[in-house]
Symmetry: C2
Subunit: 211 residues, 2 copies
């Protein structure tokens, strides 16, 4: 029952379109052509039109695209018209940073609980969100709907934790541990590998021969 199957390259670009359109919206820009947008975003107008046409015709010949409408449609494509219950595994700095990032709520992502093994952290709260003991993780998941689990625990703990989460019914994982999680089909994993990102930066810095 799947549509044509959108390429990963296109999906990777959607959040960036969404961001630019959001910025335009804030500046009260009403309409924009693929050409204007392409200049701002430094991509080709052709690519923008191709990308959007994967999902249907959002524009109008001779006019361009209505910014508000396109923004909202891309939001829907990205699933931002829905609400997501999020739990964070690991109340270290990164877990806290995620918990404190209020902007996620604006997009429909609600952090409901944070879990940690450290007894000193259990019982504290971050932005009003309780830090719970990992001991009660299973029962929590069985009692509350959770759409996304953000994993910010150490590399060595991450694979087992992820396997448990899946066993207990989670199928959306936002993984910050510097390891790949091999999970069954049907489980969606999105990785944020900060070390990988930093290495890409050092590659480019070290490779420079007076450009």
């Amino acid at each position: 029952m799947e549509e044509k199957q959108i390429s990963k390259a296109v999906i990777n670009r959607l959040p960036r379109y969404y961001r630019y359109l959001g910025d335009l919206l804030e500046k009260d820009v009403v309409r924009i052509s693929s050409k204007e947008l392409s200049e701002k975003m430094k991509v080709t107008a052709s690519q923008i039109r191709q990308d959007l046409n994967n999902f249907g015709g959002f524009g109008q010949q001779g006019y361009g695209y209505n910014v508000e409408y396109l923004h909202s449609e891309i939001g829907k494509i990205l699933g931002l018209d829905k609400k997501y219950n999020v739990i964070i595994l690991g109340a270290g700095n990164l877990g806290q940073a995620l918990a404190n990032y209020v902007d996620f709520e604006r997009r429909g992502f609600f952090v409901k609980a944070i879990f940690d093994v450290n007894p000193r952290l259990v019982g504290t709260s971050i932005r009003g969100i309780e830090v719970l003991s990992t001991d009660i993780l299973e029962s929590y998941i069985r009692l509350h709907p959770v759409d996304i689990a953000a994993i910010t625990v150490p590399k060595t703990k991450a694979p087992q934790l992820a396997a448990d989460l899946v066993k207990w019914g989670i199928n959306g994982i936002w993984n910050f541990a510097p390891t790949d999680l091999n999970l069954p089909n049907g489980v969606t994993v999105e990785n944020v590998h900060l070390a990988d990102s930093l290495m890409k930066l050092s590659y480019r810095l070290s490779g420079e021969e007076t450009d």
Copy 2:
């Protein structure tokens, strides 16, 4: 004086190879063939061989690749044989998380200072690294060698800050602000857009029709 110009797709994969080889190294695996590695990494053996051959022949017919040697060579390609002085802009949760991530040091990235505008944070220290006032940022940069500036300030402040950093001589930027920084050629920017990553996750979660 540039070599053939390695494609971005290849570079994006290098840190992942490096990670897998590091794991093998820890398990005292001495040699590995492209076929074995391809099975672990879930890519084709052909792709591994093609990728590596962009940089030269690291393997041996009939044998495969020596894990330690290949790990070290990829490290060099990624610039991990060098040391980098890093400053962090913004001592919020994310800035603190980065400052606390000791593992970066193992790869040659040394956080030298953290800057914040908030007078309450100035004077404190994180893992022994002083939080300094943004007022003295310019003079700090002029007096100390800085290779990479990690930007964790709010979106609205980021573009101006980045422009200043570049003006003061920085040309490596690790950007965590949810905005693109338009900087002159020769400046290397690596973006970590957490919100974009989360949207990609919600896209896949919301698009699922019983896979």
